[in-house]
């Protein structure tokens, strides 16, 4: 039986801290500019580092001459590819990057050399003095070009042209599914890439402390604006050949990440190497343009989708293909490819599902994970496609969706375990709060009124649903260790220090640790000191990605706190002469449930416990349960200990003369289980809605003549405050049995339905479909003109997504899988699903016993 469940049942409500709209623990320091970001750190004798980047999208390096740069007074080190030849990459399967280019450059911005100098002006001058001779190669700038020119290989290692990864799956009987359909529809969609645009640009500072008595020669510390100190720790250690024991990675305050700071980066590795060579601290701070070039942003994805439905809209089969433009390197791209297919069956119950995905290399900055990682693109495609099917069949789009919703506590056709799910409640909430039915009923009257007032604006409402993971079920590199761990130390003065590798990138993960520990120990959050995101001081948390931190670090924190609480209650029970099960902790006291006057202060209890047990330190850890996915190769992407659910209604006004779209309001219902802090959850929902709105209408990472067309935040359009629509956040759902206090994710899921809801609203307003994101006013106007041309006019054809024609069969072996014999069965022991204890996990990917499966409504 799992120990952390044994220690104490879930604390009974009402909670003192959890569920309260408290400010973030770092709110004051952040908004007053006191918070320390990587670029704020200045050390004695610090040098300024920088990277020379490729001016060509694709070229062979003939020679590099660094002599003039090295001879410039004030330059202390210049390094090139041969100094750091070891390949790396965030995924073990895509080790295709070098810190500095070796032989070839693959995009404008690919780092070629790095310099450390005494000041920024000398640095700039030195970078200009490096002479690089290139042989320019043809550049492949789109999915189509990459597929059409297998003879121009961006990476020699690819087996098949420029195809980085191709996958093919069939779940259930797809042929039978389509045969059972009354109606089948196919559509193509395109989703343009976009950047995260964190307000803080990437920055890092490396310090080498030499020690001649150490066989390694010294120790290295790296402060970096990263979401994943643990993975940076691994990769820097590997490339520099320094054992992890001699390397410390610290993420200071991080000014936004959204996925863009989840890879190990060239500037981090180069700063470390330059610091080691010079024996002086080296700082590298990227410019905004470099952020656009480092990228790792949303993949451009072209998608084809074919769905079979019954007359009433019940889905019988879905076939989905995705083509991802990966840019020049692997990054998270293999995972992204899987994610474009994995979650379709988690929103709608698909009886048969075929997914084929491929990612190609192009000569653009590498794409990677951005908020929603690989799922906003298919969400856009699926939700618009279903809206079209509803219109074709004359079925209400809400009814069509209701017929197909996944059910709580079920298994998907691709083997994913679904636990709590309030999707239907999300849908009902946005429909009623937005006045959906009334709005649609009043359509004719509204149009008549617009005509009478000769207003060019037509209004429309659209809807979409989505789901997202609460943490990836598998770590990035295979292992049986916890995904997150928390250590807590109690001070005899009553102080509490919480140590956790979790990295707060603005989402509030540090605050959440404070709330959870405060709730468990019955103290106020302000008493808690937090040490986070430091690979030397804090136990490992894998990082701020996949919406995993609150869920996993939160559970680890509960376990650690309960272990300490048990010690405190044992001494308090003795002193108060009460059985331990009659004690509760809150407001800084441990007291008798039956007579709260019988109490001991938290400090007294700590002192008694320290006298009895010695130093009061406890740790907790968390790993997701094993049996939450299928047992086929590739089943590791998609599983999660729980899923969040969202629904969105968008109200838009479309100007039929100018094609301009104004989103007037977004209603977003989100199933977060139990909100640990509803204020922070609303912040995440609003931030997601804002970002989704920007992606839907304006953001695009686009290229012209091989170069990023608009690498500045003046020209790359992200919405301003004035553009941002009104957002109504509606939190729904019941506490999830696996989540900390029942909490689920909120950081990414709410973005997903926003884009298709806006697209569907535009259709509802003016009857045109733009199947390509972003939906810019020029596309809308073109479609409007094509739809409403007067006799004699010859408008341009409406914007249309060009299909990708494959001359050969899908370049991946088909894997067939069905979930037979994997129906959930009641857990005979108790209502909680259990966790494998550390070291006792079932073999990776193997089917384990059904006793670990969840059961709804079990007794706690």
């Amino acid at each position: 039986m799992d120990e952390w469940r044994r220690l104490q049942p879930r604390k009974a409500g009402p909670y003192k801290v959890v569920g309260k709209p408290l400010p973030k623990v770092d709110a004051y320091s952040t908004v007053t500019g006191r918070a320390i970001y990587a670029d704020d750190i200045i050390l004695p004798r610090m040098l300024y580092g920088g990277l020379l980047r490729s001016p060509h999208p694709h070229a062979r390096i003939i020679s590099i001459n660094t002599r003039k740069a090295r001879e410039l007074p004030g330059v202390l080190a210049v390094i090139t590819g041969e100094d750091l030849p070891r390949k790396y990459g965030i995924l073990p399967s895509s080790q295709d990057e070098t810190a500095l280019a070796v032989d070839k450059v693959r995009y404008v911005g690919d780092p070629v050399a790095a310099v450390a100098a005494v000041d920024p002006d000398t640095l700039e001058q030195a970078l200009r003095l490096i002479e690089v001779e290139y042989e320019v190669l043809p550049a492949l700038m789109s999915i189509e070009e990459a597929l059409a020119r297998p003879d121009i290989k961006i990476h020699e290692e690819t087996r098949n042209g420029n195809i980085h990864k191709a996958v093919s799956y069939e779940f259930g009987d797809i042929e039978a599914g389509f045969a059972a359909a009354d109606y089948v529809r196919e559509d193509w969609f395109y989703y343009e890439g976009n950047n995260h645009v964190p307000i803080e640009t990437h920055a890092c500072l490396a310090r080498w402390e030499p020690d001649p008595h150490d066989p390694i020669g010294g120790k290295l510390t790296l402060w970096s604006s990263t979401q994943t100190p643990h993975y940076v720790h691994r990769e820097v250690s590997k490339v520099l050949g320094i054992p992890p024991s001699h390397l410390r990675v610290i993420a200071p305050h991080v000014g936004g990440g959204f996925g863009g700071k989840s890879d190990p980066f060239s500037h981090e590795i180069c700063a470390c190497e330059l610091a080691r060579r010079t024996g002086r601290p080296v700082k590298i701070t990227c410019t905004r343009e470099e952020v656009f070039l480092i990228h790792r942003g949303r993949h451009p994805v072209k998608m084809w989708i074919k769905t079979g439905v019954k007359r009433d809209g019940t889905i019988t089969a879905m076939h989905f293909r995705s083509f991802l433009d990966g840019g020049a390197y692997g990054s998270y791209g293999v995972a992204t490819t899987y994610y474009t297919g994995a979650l379709q069956p988690v929103t709608y119950a698909l009886p048969a599902y075929k997914f084929e995905g491929m990612r190609v290399f192009t000569n653009k900055p590498p794409c990677g994970p951005k908020r929603g990682h690989g799922t906003p693109q298919p969400r856009f495609a699926v939700e618009v496609h279903l809206d079209k099917i509803a219109a074709d069949l004359g079925v209400d789009p809400i009814e069509l969706r209701k017929r197909n919703l996944v059910r709580p506590y079920s298994r998907t056709i691709n083997g994913l375990r679904i636990t709590s799910c309030a999707l239907e409640e999300c849908l009902d909430q946005v429909v009623s709060r937005s006045g959906w039915r009334e709005f649609h009923a009043a359509r004719l009257a509204r149009e008549a009124e617009a005509t009478r007032q000769s207003s060019p604006v037509r209004h429309g409402m659209g809807l979409a649903l989505s789901t997202y993971i609460c943490g990836a079920g598998k770590p990035i590199y295979w292992n049986d260790m916890p995904h997150s761990a928390v250590q807590i130390r109690l001070d005899r003065g009553g102080g509490v220090t919480v140590y956790c590798g979790a990295t707060d990138i603005g989402q509030g993960s540090t605050s959440v640790l404070a709330y959870i520990v405060a709730e468990e120990l019955g103290i106020e959050p302000e008493r808690i000191h937090l040490e986070t995101a430091d690979t030397t001081l804090t136990p490992v948390d894998l990082g701020s990605y996949s919406s995993r931190v609150t869920f996993m670090a939160g559970n680890a924190a509960i376990q650690a706190a309960r272990r300490l609480k048990e010690l405190l209650h044992s001494v308090a029970a003795e002193r108060l002469r009460l059985p331990p099960d009659r004690l509760e902790s809150s407001d800084g006291f441990i007291y008798c449930i039956d007579d709260p006057q019988v109490a001991l202060s938290f400090e007294q209890a700590v002192q008694l416990a320290e006298a009895r047990y010695g130093a009061l330190v406890a740790a907790g850890s968390y790993a997701p349960p094993e049996d939450i996915h299928g047992d086929f190769k590739g089943a590791g992407v998609g599983p999660s200990p729980a899923y969040s659910y969202s629904a969105c209604v968008a109200l838009v006004g479309v100007d039929i003369e100018t094609g301009e779209v104004k989103v007037e309001k977004l209603w977003l219902a989100h199933d977060v289980g139990q909100a640990i802090n509803p204020l922070l959850v609303a912040g995440q929902v609003e931030g997601s809605a804002y970002m989704g709105y920007g992606e839907a209408l304006m953001e695009q990472q686009i290229f012209r003549k091989g170069r990023h067309k608009i690498p500045s935040i003046l020209d790359y359009k992200i919405p301003t405050t004035l553009d941002t629509p009104e957002i109504e956040t509606i939190l729904v759902g019941q506490p999830d049995e696996e989540g900390p206090f029942g909490g689920k994710e909120a950081g990414q899921g709410p973005l997903l339905p926003v884009i298709p809801a806006i697209a569907n609203a535009i259709y509802n307003a003016v009857g045109i479909r733009i199947d390509e994101v972003p939906i810019t006013p020029d596309k809308v106007l073109r479609a409007l003109k094509a739809a409403r041309s007067e006799p004699g006019e010859r408008p341009l054809p409406p914007p249309r997504v060009t299909p990708i024609v494959l001359n050969e069969r899908w370049p991946a072996r088909l894997i067939r899988w069905s979930p037979e014999q994997r129906e959930p069965r009641p857990d005979p022991t108790n209502g909680h699903h259990q966790h494998p204890r550390q070291g006792e996990s079932a073999p990776h990917g193997a089917a384990s016993t059904s006793s670990r499966l969840p059961q709804k409504g079990g007794t706690a």
């Binding site: 980047r53 001016p55 060509h56 404008v108 920024p120 002006d121 700039e124 640009t201 701070t285 410019t287 343009e289 003369e657 100018t658 094609g659 304006m698 003549k705 170069r707 990023h708 067309k709 608009i710 690498p711 500045s712 003046l714 020209d715 359009k717 919405p719 301003t720 405050t721 004035l722 553009d723 810019t776 006013p777 020029d778 106007l781 073109r782 341009l796």
Partner: protein, 335 residues
């Protein structure tokens, strides 16, 4: 963060000291007021002046005074915020207040001046890029290169006049005073502009734009519409400035229509203006005038959104500006 190139900063206290410093330092010197356009451009190495002559202390460049019946003087050093908030300008030259309020963001309007906006460097998305970017693509003729990257066969530069206040001041028939050690001159603002992306102003390197004179406003109505992607921050991809004076019988006494961001200078729609004069403003006529005005817009692929779109939007924005003025007048009933 991009670094400024090294430069000396001189801070004169009087206009004559400033003109003397500009003359002494020669073409290596540039005047700087709010710096909101110049300093970012220096970071990207579009400009690398050895000397900056600061204009912010000059009292001669300050002040907004006058009245609608005699006209208004605006010091070129007044900020865009003070212009957009000024009661006299809001009441009698609303197009200028609207244009000033439409520039960039509140922070930049608090620093940026009207003189700086009028003399904004022309813009092009092959030119307004970092040194690294321009090096990567091989530079353009406007700085460090020899060809125009938008129209490679073209002998000239097609960078776009992107100041919001410029087309408005043309439509309002403003005059400007330029001062140098060689003397001073007052010219109609149209004569400040050249249709040349590389050298868009007739201002000589040693001249300082001191002040702007607006003519009497009695009987005139004006407005400014700006096409851009977002509610803030963006430069115009089309600016439409319209000023109308109606006769007592409702006919158009005089009309000025100026387009911004469609060429390297503010473009007056002469044919359209002529078509309006002396006419009753019927919807059919306004539509015809809008179409005529739009013929002057010849956008190229060097700004946001597509050429076709920017071209298609021009008559719509002109007509909407005309509608606003005509309706406002009819709505008010008087005059």
């Amino acid at each position: 963060m991009l670094r400024l190139p090294p430069f000396r900063y001189l801070a004169p206290r009087t206009l004559s000291e400033a003109t003397r410093l500009l003359a002494e330092e020669g073409p290596q010197a540039m005047p700087v007021a709010g710096g909101t356009d110049l300093l970012p451009n220096m970071k990207r190495r579009q400009f690398t002046p050895a000397v900056l002559v600061g204009l912010r202390r000059l009292r001669e460049l300050k002040g907004i005074s006058g009245s609608p019946d005699v006209g208004v003087r605006i010091g070129a050093g007044e900020t865009l915020t003070s212009i957009s908030n000024h009661p006299l300008i809001r009441a009698h030259y609303p197009a200028l207040a609207l244009a000033a309020a439409a520039v960039s963001t509140p922070q930049l309007r608090n620093a940026g001046t009207i003189g700086g906006n009028i003399l904004l460097d022309t813009r092009c998305n092959y030119y307004n890029q970092t040194e690294f970017w321009r090096h990567s693509i091989g530079y353009c003729m406007k700085r460090d290169g020899s060809i125009c990257l938008v129209a490679p066969g073209s002998p000239r530069c097609w960078a776009i006049s992107s100041a919001d206040t410029a087309p408005v001041l043309v439509a309002l028939q403003a005059r400007v005073r330029l001062v140098s050690v060689r003397g001073e001159r007052e010219i109609p603002i149209q004569e400040l502009f050249y249709d040349d992306g590389m050298r868009p102003y007739t201002r000589e390197a040693d001249e300082i734009l001191q002040e702007i004179w607006l003519p009497p406003a009695l009987g005139w109505r004006s407005t400014y519409l700006k096409l851009r992607r977002r509610g803030s921050f963006d430069f115009p991809i089309l600016g439409v400035a319209v000023a109308l004076r109606r006769e007592p019988d409702g006919r158009i006494g005089d009309a000025r229509i100026t387009l911004g961001a469609v060429a390297s200078h503010p473009v007056e729609a002469e044919e359209a203006m002529a078509r309006l004069r002396g006419q009753q403003p019927t919807p059919t006529l306004l539509q015809e005038v809008a179409t005529l005005a739009a013929k002057r817009a010849r956008p190229l692929d060097n700004a946001d959104l597509t050429i076709t779109y920017r071209k298609q939007l021009t008559p719509i924005y002109v007509r909407r500006a005309l509608d606003l003025l005509v309706e406002a007048e009819q709505g008010s009933g008087a005059e």
